[in-house]
């Protein structure tokens, strides 16, 4: 279990005591990736609220509200997934394993594409 390195400054969770401390640049890059995902979740959240409350000229209302709730609802799981991905990456780096696949980016792109299509179609005249 002990990695043989000097005493760490902060103890933190158990999984952080195992394996080797990775190159700090990878750790920081992982941290920034986590923050980028959180910002994406926060953007989805804000987007949903703005769509529902400020795009009052769009119709039908049930579709707009539904899309807004869907966007906002996606942001919660995205934030949780961001944490899990960060943690899995840290553990993989500590044990010299390849980073686990992140399918979140594809999911996000698909969802945004669907929402954009739905909103554009709802504005089609006639």
């Amino acid at each position: 279990m002990a990695s043989g390195r000097p005493l760490l400054r902060s103890r933190g969770p158990g999984w952080r005591q195992t394996g080797q401390e990775p190159d700090y640049r990878f750790t920081l890059a992982n941290e920034r990736t986590f923050l980028a995902w959180i910002r994406s979740a926060l953007a989805l959240m804000a987007g949903g609220v703005v769509l529902a409350q400020f795009a009052t000229h769009l119709s039908p209302r049930w579709l707009v509200t539904g899309t807004a709730v869907a966007l906002t609802g996606l942001s919660g799981p995205m934030a949780v997934l961001a944490w899990r991905q960060w943690r899995a990456n840290e553990i993989a780096m500590r044990h010299g394993r390849p980073l686990p696949a992140s399918r979140g980016a594809v999911l996000l792109a698909v969802c945004v594409g669907i929402v954009a299509t739905v909103l554009a179609a709802s504005q089609w005249p006639g």
Binding site: G12, Y24, V49
Partner: protein, 122 residues
């Protein structure tokens, strides 16, 4: 990533936290506004809480910059800070859904009232 200068890594990481604080701030204002518009104190209070969280995140960004500059980029963020941020965002998404549905309720009621008043005038 391939930069030999640890100072650049410190700056990029601190900036990432700073941008996140800005995103939290935007959502805090949106939820607080929704709370005021729909007259719901829970939403307003949560919005103000998010406002404090945005400040805390910005302060964390500054702290991170200091720590990283001192340790030549070798310091890692406490896991608790990242977990707190993720949980905060998750809680925020629930509040935001509440804000969307509650304000819709309020505007529907306002539309009904206008309709009734319109009929009375006629």
């Amino acid at each position: 990533m391939n930069s030999p200068d640890p100072g650049l890594q410190a700056e990029r990481t601190a900036l990432a936290w700073s941008r996140t604080a800005l995103a939290v701030l935007a959502n805090a204002l949106l939820i607080a506004r929704a709370g005021m518009a729909s007259q719901r104190t829970e939403l307003l209070v949560f919005g103000l809480l998010l406002l404090c969280a945005a400040g805390a995140t910005q302060a964390f960004s500054a702290w991170r910059r200091v720590v990283l500059n001192q340790a030549s980029g070798a310091a890692r963020a406490p896991a608790a800070a990242l977990l707190s941020l993720a949980l905060l965002a998750a809680a925020g998404s629930v509040a935001a859904i509440g804000a969307i549905l509650l304000e819709r309720e309020v505007s529907a009621q306002a539309a009904d009232r206008k309709h009734v008043e319109g009929e009375r005038i006629l």
